[in-house]
């Protein structure tokens, strides 16, 4: 057999395979014990809890022994555990369903409840139209008032209802600017300090991009965005912003200038995390289907924490993205049910995609002299078709061969869609990190799909027939009706709208192009800075670690309700 083009003795997935299966990872046969549900501690817990709930509510529910396949329960083969990649934490598959994982819920909550609002427009209104003085002192006072008001407290009115601080403690506002002097004059509690949070090179880029303008990173209460929707975020925020300006700057509540402030807060100066979707999707802004891949790559902060490992940074985007786009967006908003989790988790468990991607890194270093551990724009390879074809072919063939040589690895990714997403992601990331071009990465993705399909005469589920077999033709087209640069595509891009196992990876491919160049952001510096905030409940620099914490029930989310419900 012809050999892989580079030697890589390290197999990152081996530890997980050895932990999951008691047999040799290279064994080709196994005795299927058919132990059923009871082999899994989590299923045993479900059985016990289901019984209790049934007794309490008087309506039957979890009864897999009777209801699954007319009496044949799950677990006719081994119910595998999964290592959340890079964490060393083994979890049950069930623990990675977002309903069972508070960290996953919080990640999405933290995006949906976030809005960024410009302050310069309001300051101009105050200064030029009303002749008010705006100084660091007045801004500090305003932020103090705002952090009182934003969670749902009254500022100007008499006899108003208010929200319980213990229920909305996750709600706050901070500001950021590229103006170091201004930062020095503001109270540290109110500032996202770019200089301190980012590596020097990234901080310099970000500060230059923001300049002297000032922005508010606003996070409304989790409980509010859950009860309402993403479209609420800008409205809730704008109302409290307006009232806080009135209170802090002693304005007349009804004067016409208030309309200017409201217009800035609701429209002119607002950055939504996600665009509104067409009516057939029936979703407002700040819902997952409207998040541009470039913006998502900016939300995830692993490139800030691991600036010398663009592969790691991209893999964190894969984990976060497959969770949000596959498990929550496609899996529940768009479809419903539980099956999508199985697709998504393949990309962030057992270090399999990690291994394939690092093989790609070794390859681009050896063949194209890309110093990927020292991200810079100078050593990027020209994104020609030949380069994309070469990198993709090698990374795809290596991945397929790993699945073949380690039958337990194939068994781990037992579905073709899982393998297709993982192989193509490794190819796409290798191409985008090597070239610094997100569309070259997407093009690599689609060649991988064709190679995979021809090699094994199978690919994923029916959906792959559309997206992945016509993707070559739109991956480099930039005309709006055929395509767009990857940064501007999103889950609702025509061919992507209904296909699990792709969108998180696409976002990572987009991010990889920039992480590989050492860029401080992919599409929007404001979003990059906003999600660097350590006060957020979810740590966007370590999504996979957070998911693992959620799985083992060590993640503390927002959205407390025990204050207002009977004690158990």
């Amino acid at each position: 057999m012809a050999k892989a083009k580079i030697e890589r003795t390290q197999k990152l997935f081996l530890k997980a395979l050895k932990g999951k299966f008691k047999e040799d990872p290279q064994s080709t046969s196994v005795v299927y014990a058919r132990e059923g549900l009871k082999q899994s501690p989590r299923k045993r817990e479900f059985l016990e809890s289901g019984k209790k709930m049934e007794m309490a509510r008087g309506i039957s529910m979890y009864d897999p022994v009777r209801c699954h396949l007319g009496g044949i329960p799950l677990g006719q083969r081994q119910l595998m555990t999964y290592e959340v990649s890079t964490t060393g934490v083994f979890v049950e598959g069930d623990d990675l369903h977002f309903v069972n994982n508070a960290a996953m819920q919080q990640m999405w909550d933290d995006i949906r409840r976030t809005i960024i609002v410009n302050m310069d427009l309001a300051h101009q209104t105050l200064q030029k139209r009303l002749g008010k003085e705006v100084t660091p002192e007045t801004i500090n006072e305003y932020l103090h008032v705002l952090n009182h008001a934003m969670p749902g407290a009254a500022v100007v009115q008499e006899h108003m209802v208010e929200t319980h601080p213990g229920l909305v403690d996750d709600c706050y506002v901070k500001v950021f600017t590229g103006d170091d002097e201004m930062v020095d004059d503001l109270e540290p509690q109110f500032v996202i300090n770019v200089e301190k949070l980012f590596p020097a090179k990234q901080a310099a880029q970000l500060k230059a991009a923001v300049g002297k303008s000032m922005w508010q990173a606003i996070h409304i209460p989790t409980i509010v965005s859950r009860t309402c929707d993403g479209g609420t975020t800008s409205r809730w925020s704008a109302m409290q912003l307006g009232m806080s300006f009135i209170g802090a700057y002693r304005m007349c509540a009804g004067e016409a200038a208030v309309a200017d402030l409201a217009f800035a807060a609701k429209h002119a100066g607002v950055i939504q995390m996600a665009d509104i979707l067409p009516a057939r999707r029936a979703r407002g802004p700040n819902e997952p289907g409207g998040i541009k891949f470039g913006h998502f790559a900016d939300m995830v902060q692993a490139d800030r924490k691991y600036p010398h490992d663009p592969a790691r940074a991209s893999l964190e985007v894969v984990g976060a993205g497959t969770m949000l786009f596959d498990q929550i967006w496609l899996g529940s908003y768009m479809s419903g049910g539980v099956g999508f989790t199985q697709y998504a988790t393949a990309a962030y468990t057992d270090n399999i995609l990690d291994e394939y991607t690092y093989y790609g890194m070794d390859y681009i270093k050896q063949k194209y002299k890309v110093d990927w551990q020292n991200p810079n724009e100078k050593d990027k390879v020209k994104p020609t078709q030949d380069v994309v074809n070469d990198i993709t072919t090698e990374v795809a063939l290596n991945g397929m061969e790993q699945y073949e040589q380690f039958p337990t690895l194939m068994e781990d990714h037992f579905g073709g869609s899982q393998r297709a997403g993982v192989l193509a992601a490794a190819c796409g990331l290798s191409c985008s990190i090597a070239t610094g071009n997100s569309n070259a990465g997407l093009n690599g993705w689609y060649l991988c799909m064709l190679l995979h399909k021809e090699g094994w005469s199978r690919l994923g589920f029916f959906g792959y027939d559309l997206q992945d077999q016509c993707g070559s033709a739109n991956s480099l087209a930039i005309r709006p009706d055929e395509g767009a640069v990857g940064e501007l595509r999103g889950p609702n891009y025509p061919n992507y709208a209904m296909n699990v196992g792709h969108q998180g990876e696409y976002a990572a491919i987009v991010g990889g192009a920039h992480y590989g160049r050492g860029d401080a952001w992919s599409l929007n510096p404001l979003i990059k800075i906003t999600f660097a905030d350590p006060s957020l409940k979810f740590d966007f620099a370590e999504p996979r670690r957070e998911f693992a914490k959620g799985a083992i029930r060590e993640f503390m989310p927002a959205g407390e309700r025990s204050l207002i419900i009977p004690a158990r």
């Binding site: 080709t28 396949l69 074809n389 579905g415």
Partner: protein, 254 residues
């Protein structure tokens, strides 16, 4: 110049098998006998001997519109009789089962009329009029396209194509629709394709040996088979297709 199908590239046995199976002029090698009744039992759509349920009256009895397409396309036997559309679905082990999902869909499209194949990673379904289906299914099961141990007839709960084999060499089936009778080295179906118990066992033959499987398979596999990497012609062809599709995404004016 008359169109001559090429069926696909590649310089290996795997590629050659793919071309052979797709090419209707290649007569598929018959490997086992299976009766019409047994095929009907395996699929489970109707009881053997029962009349074919219909979706519409026979074409000869219904008023057909004056349609040029209908004049051009001769109906299949099943369509003529107004049969309902039913299916057979296969799961093919990646451990060298003879047919694999896309290959199945391609060969069915080349060889059979009036079929609607659907391709996934772990299963492949073909749907058509019931009496046509029974004829096609018989060929799909009795010829070199089928191995009793590595090919499964599975309507639902298809899990198994990518799993390690059981200790007796059978592909994993959660529902255990078929079992290997070790004494006679014979695979017997005890449930139909959707897992309903059969009143009588259906024998589908002896598992083929490794040598036979590797000589007949249509999957590239580096563990004991032919690695995809080793078929340079095939890979070059895929790259070419991809490159041309990419280029013409731009609709160049040349």
């Amino acid at each position: 110049m008359a169109y001559k199908p090429q069926y696909g590239p590649g310089s290996t046995v795997v590629a050659e098998n793919r071309r052979k199976y797709m090419d209707p002029s290649h007569k598929l090698e018959k490997v086992r006998d299976i009766s019409d009744e047994d095929i009907v039992l395996l699929m489970g759509h109707r009881a053997p001997g029962a009349a074919y349920p219909t979706a519409h009256p026979p074409l000869s009895e219904q008023q057909e519109p004056d349609c040029p397409v209908r004049k051009l396309v001769a109906p299949t036997d099943g369509a003529k009789h107004g049969d309902r559309v039913r299916y057979i679905q296969f799961t093919d082990s990646m451990f060298f089962a003879p047919a694999q999902p896309y290959l199945r869909s391609y060969l069915e499209s080349y060889r059979y009329r009036g079929v609607d194949p659907g391709t996934l990673s772990g299963r492949q379904i073909v749907e058509c009029r019931e009496r046509d289906l029974e004829k096609y299914a018989k060929e799909l099961v009795s010829t070199e396209l089928f191995d009793p141990a590595r090919t499964g007839i599975r309507g639902a709960t298809v899990h198994g194509h990518s799993l390690r084999l059981a200790e007796d060499g059978m592909m994993f089936d959660m529902l255990q629709r078929c079992v290997l009778d070790k004494k006679g080295n014979m695979v017997k179906y005890v449930k139909n394709q959707i897992g309903e118990p059969l009143d009588k066992e259906v024998k589908v033959g002896k598992p083929m040996d490794d040598k036979w499987l590797k000589a007949h398979t249509t999957i590239y596999h580096s563990l004991g088979g032919i690695a995809f990497r080793d078929d340079a012609e095939y890979i070059e062809w895929v790259q070419r297709i991809h490159s041309l599709r990419t280029k013409y995404g731009f609709m160049p004016e040349e």
